[in-house]
């Protein structure tokens, strides 16, 4: 049974069960992945799947049910199940389905360019990446991770207000991690390159970066605990901004899980900071023309010169606040319900290159990696304490690598203390949305070390 036929049956059943408003969210996706270890294929995955979620809304209450089986029984079961689920809801918040027509303008679907590349070429490129990394430096003893990955996702959305659309997004890329050793200490470095256009994958550049990251940290030592000036590289800042992403969700604000409640229009961070959310960012694999609720996506400034302009809204949170939805309600999978997320965070870059930032800092730390975001950072309190590594900067120059330190602070205070913003905006490795950020110089942060 194809999806259009399944939809017709589900909608017919929903009307028969006297549900006022309903929608069907369907995705089908394809994923390819291979990894190489010591010149041989380590793993290889070539797969597809799809599924649908039915959302029923009655008297402002919503219930959900999903399936991966497309047959007549399931077309009835998900309707009954969703109806039963919504009858349990006792929240006072009103949910709804989209009523405004979705016109997708100025939009080009993902070109499926990665599907044009032969599997043999992908495997050969992955082998080449591993070999290139290996030969960059004799201290690289192994490349434990070397992956090629591409995927696309086709979304089909239809609701009882006759809104119906499909779009396709996706892309691919490569990532690798290398292990370097000086005989006493092992160091690990990793990097990635993800894009919508396989022609833009630069194996040589990626290999250089992975190798440098691993080798550069050899002979690292810890430092004394204390307060330091720091330069956070783009990837580290991108990771820590994960806390901000949760704080600007209107759902978290309304439920009391965000420090940004009642802060609209107020200056919340340094006036040097402007952060946008963009529906389209060049080469981003997260671009999309509409969210998972039938709301067209838009470009918006979340923070302008330090002032909080907007939260990110779903239909439900927008109804509660009496504002328009912002097109930020996404379903990562038909198995889940909507959650609020940006599309592509674009942190406006400054003028200083990395060397300028070191020069302006004079003495301090350059943090190139943090670990522990999922446990050591609390989006409700904004407090974080993360394992970190990087370099000691003395007299404006890299002095030596550092390890076994922690970087601690509060997100909003840290963003208040930004002294200067770098010009090196790049994609940070964040898995759920685009995150384009530069490196930044921060006045003071807490560091613990064991020297």
């Amino acid at each position: 049974m194809n999806i259009k036929e399944f939809k017709r049956l589900v909608f017919q059943n929903a009307r028969q069960k006297e549900i006022d408003n309903f929608e069907l969210f369907h995705t089908s996706s394809h994923e390819f992945e291979c990894s190489i270890n010591k010149g041989e294929i380590q793993s290889y995955k070539d797969a597809e799947n799809g599924g649908s979620s039915f959302k029923a809304v009655k008297n402002g209450k919503a219930g959900y049910s999903y399936t991966e089986d497309y047959n007549e029984d399931e077309a009835m079961r998900i309707v009954i199940d969703a109806l039963e689920n919504l009858q349990l809801i006792d929240s006072d918040d009103i949910d709804a389905i989209s009523t405004s027509e979705v016109v997708i303008k100025n939009w080009k679907d993902y070109s499926m360019a990665f599907d044009e590349i032969s599997t043999n070429k992908k495997i050969a490129d992955t082998k080449l990446l591993e070999a290139q990394i290996q030969k960059k430096d004799s201290r690289i003893i192994m490349v434990p991770y070397c992956f090629y990955n591409d995927m696309y996702n086709e979304v089909f959305f239809a609701n009882s207000n006759e809104i119906e659309y499909t779009y396709k997004n996706g892309g691919g890329g490569m990532y690798a991690g290398a292990m370097a050793s000086n005989g006493k200490q092992n160091k690990f470095g990793m990097d990635f390159d993800f894009t919508t256009d396989p022609q833009k994958l630069d194996i040589e550049k990626l290999a250089n970066s992975v190798a440098e990251k691993a080798v550069g940290l050899l002979d690292a030592k810890s430092i004394k605990s204390g307060k330091y000036q720091v330069v956070l590289n783009y990837n580290v800042l991108g990771n820590i901004l994960g806390l901000l992403v949760q704080m600007i969700s209107a759902e978290n604000v309304q439920k009391g899980f965000s420090l940004l409640k009642n802060k609209l229009g107020e200056k919340i961070v340094s006036e040097k900071i402007t952060i946008l959310d963009k529906r389209y960012y060049p080469d981003s694999i997260f671009n999309c023309p509409a969210d998972s609720q039938g709301i067209v996506t838009t470009d918006k400034a979340i923070i302008s010169n330090g002032v909080l302009n907007t939260y990110l809204h779903s239909l439900k949170t927008a109804l509660k606040d009496g504002v328009s939805p912002t097109g930020n309600a996404f379903r990562r999978s038909y198995k889940g319900t909507e959650s609020i997320s940006p599309i592509n965070i674009d942190f406006q870059e400054g003028k200083a290159n990395l060397d300028d930032l070191f020069e302006h800092m004079k003495d301090g730390l350059y943090i190139t990696g943090v670990q522990g975001m999922h446990s050591g950072a609390n989006p409700v309190s904004g407090e974080f304490s993360l394992s970190a590594e990087g370099f000691k900067i003395e007299d404006g120059k890299k002095a030596y690598p550092i390890e076994q330190i922690t970087l601690s602070g509060n997100l909003l205070r840290m963003l208040q203390n930004i002294q200067e913003i770098g010009s090196d905006k790049q994609m940070a490795m964040v898995m759920s949305h685009g995150m384009y950020v530069p490196s930044v110089l921060i006045k003071e942060m807490d560091i613990a070390g064991n020297e």
Binding site: Y66, M142, H374, N378
Partner: protein, 460 residues
């Protein structure tokens, strides 16, 4: 799925040159509910149903999955694997699938899908009540409930045909405390490989209070100090330290490549003599338990470390081929969309001789980590990090004031040697573990332990 189609798929993969062909069929019905401040806000339920196919040729593994279970689609996926293997002239062995039955180690009394949704709702209400009534400082309470029933069938070219049913249920209570402009949080998340009878084994309302107690304790705490110091880690979720600092580096995933700090240490002293640790997927109704692993191998209790000596790794079939060692029944995956690999199940340090209060009384100055948060590790360097959810200072053998915001960092091979006292109060707790084959339920556990020296990342 018809037996004929299972055999056909395995034959196609073998004919393509695989030494080993495998099929993993999964159907899972799940149910999730979310309550905010006592009001039920989201209810979602549904079914996933798909098949994962794998061919292993030499040390190479090829995986494909689909949830279109028609003959055409399954045959196509099998053919894609055969093509990708690129080995010629392999003989196809006649398949003789023999059903492999194991006694059920995880009996279920009340199947969650037969419990009225309203009963689940009432139970969540109790949890909410316990947390929200605990203190005026509790400003928000979120309660999540989920259960699922997973039915799997595994068949392979060695003739194995095995089935298993896994039922899991979990309650997660998240409390927020507020004081002025500051917020802190508390969390508990009990779960089990049990049916709804799990909620007869503890007082749900008391569990709500526990989440609130942590949130209130921490909003009134100062920041933890920074620097090297002794650390006493309490039982239950404290075991996350062994899970991260050592467990992951014992998985074949990193050992087989030589990318683990413990890869060449079998039979050697890697921990202080007082440390013994096991991985045991056979604990009845454990959160990480199963009758068979996700390759159909019966699960077992594996001694990982005995008196400080490394005894075994955690091995799946492919890891076993690469390491030339037998499987320890440790192959796991999130669902049919993941190729399985070696993972932990219920992993914990065994009890020692000390009373927990004895350990504290014998320590002049330390950080006491009563509740741990999560953590992570890089198995190739051994570098780990953990957050402390509820911490205290120990001064002159006494627990004094609460401290917040502490992170513990170090290197796995160093901390194992620095564990110098082990309590007699072994207990386990539940977590979700993420790695190459996805996110899976795993128990961590330990008695109270003392680490002679660890870097505490607090505020200076």
């Amino acid at each position: 799925m018809k037996r004929k189609l299972i055999e056909k798929a395995l034959n196609i993969i073998q004919a393509g040159g695989a030494d080993f062909a495998e099929l993993f069929l999964e159907k899972r019905t799940g149910h999730n509910m979310e309550m905010n401040n006592g009001k039920l806000e989201t209810v979602n339920s549904g079914v996933i149903h798909g098949v994962g196919l794998r061919g292993i040729a030499g040390k190479k593994a090829i995986y494909a999955y689909t949830n279109d279970l028609s003959e055409e689609s399954v045959v196509n996926a099998s053919k894609r694997i055969a093509q990708a293997i690129e080995v010629e002239n392999n003989q196809v062995v006649e398949l003789n699938l023999i059903e492999n039955k194991r006694n059920n180690l995880n009996p279920i009394l009340l199947f969650p899908d037969q419990i009225k949704k309203d009963e689940k709702y009432q139970m969540m209400k109790l949890a909410n009540e316990g947390a929200s009534s605990y203190s005026d400082q509790i400003s928000e309470v979120k309660v999540n409930y989920f259960d699922y029933r997973q039915n799997i069938l595994i068949a392979n070219s060695e003739g194995l045909l095995a089935e298993d049913e896994r039922i899991r249920t979990r309650l997660m209570i998240f409390a927020v405390s507020t004081k002025g402009n500051e917020k802190e949080t508390g969390f508990v998340g009990p779960g089990a490989g049990m049916g709804f009878e799990f909620y007869n084994t503890f007082d749900v309302k008391e569990m709500g209070k526990e989440a609130a107690r942590i949130a209130v304790k921490m909003i009134n705490a100062e920041f933890a100090p920074a620097g090297m110091m002794p650390v006493i880690i309490a039982n239950k979720f404290g075991g996350v330290i062994f899970h991260e600092a050592c467990g992951h580096a014992l998985e074949a995933t990193s050992v087989a490549k030589g990318a683990s700090v413990f890869a060449d240490k079998l039979g050697q002293q890697i921990a202080n003599e007082c440390v013994s640790a096991v991985d045991d997927a056979t604990i009845p109704n454990g959160w990480g338990s199963a009758n068979i692993d996700d390759e159909g191998t019966p699960t077992q209790k594996t001694v990982l470390i005995e008196n400080g000596i490394l005894k075994s790794f955690l091995i799946d079939k492919l890891g076993g081929i690469r390491m030339n060692m037998p499987s320890t029944g440790s192959s796991r995956r999130q669902n049919y969309t993941y190729s399985p690999t070696s993972r932990m199940s219920n992993t914990f340090i065994l009890p020692g001789e000390f009373l927990p209060e004895e350990i504290i009384a014998n320590t002049p100055k330390a950080l006491y980590a009563k509740k741990m948060g999560g953590g992570s590790v890089n198995p190739s360097t051994g570098e780990f990090n953990f957050s402390v959810r509820e911490g205290y200072l120990v001064e002159n053998g006494r627990i004094t004031k609460p401290v917040k915001g502490a992170t513990l960092i170090g290197k796995g091979f160093e901390i194992l040697k620095k564990i110098d006292m082990i309590g007699n109060d072994l207990a386990r707790d539940q977590g979700m573990c993420g790695s190459l084959s996805g996110s899976i339920p795993a128990d961590v556990g330990q008695p109270t332990i003392r680490v002679s020296e660890l870097l505490v990342g607090g505020r200076s």
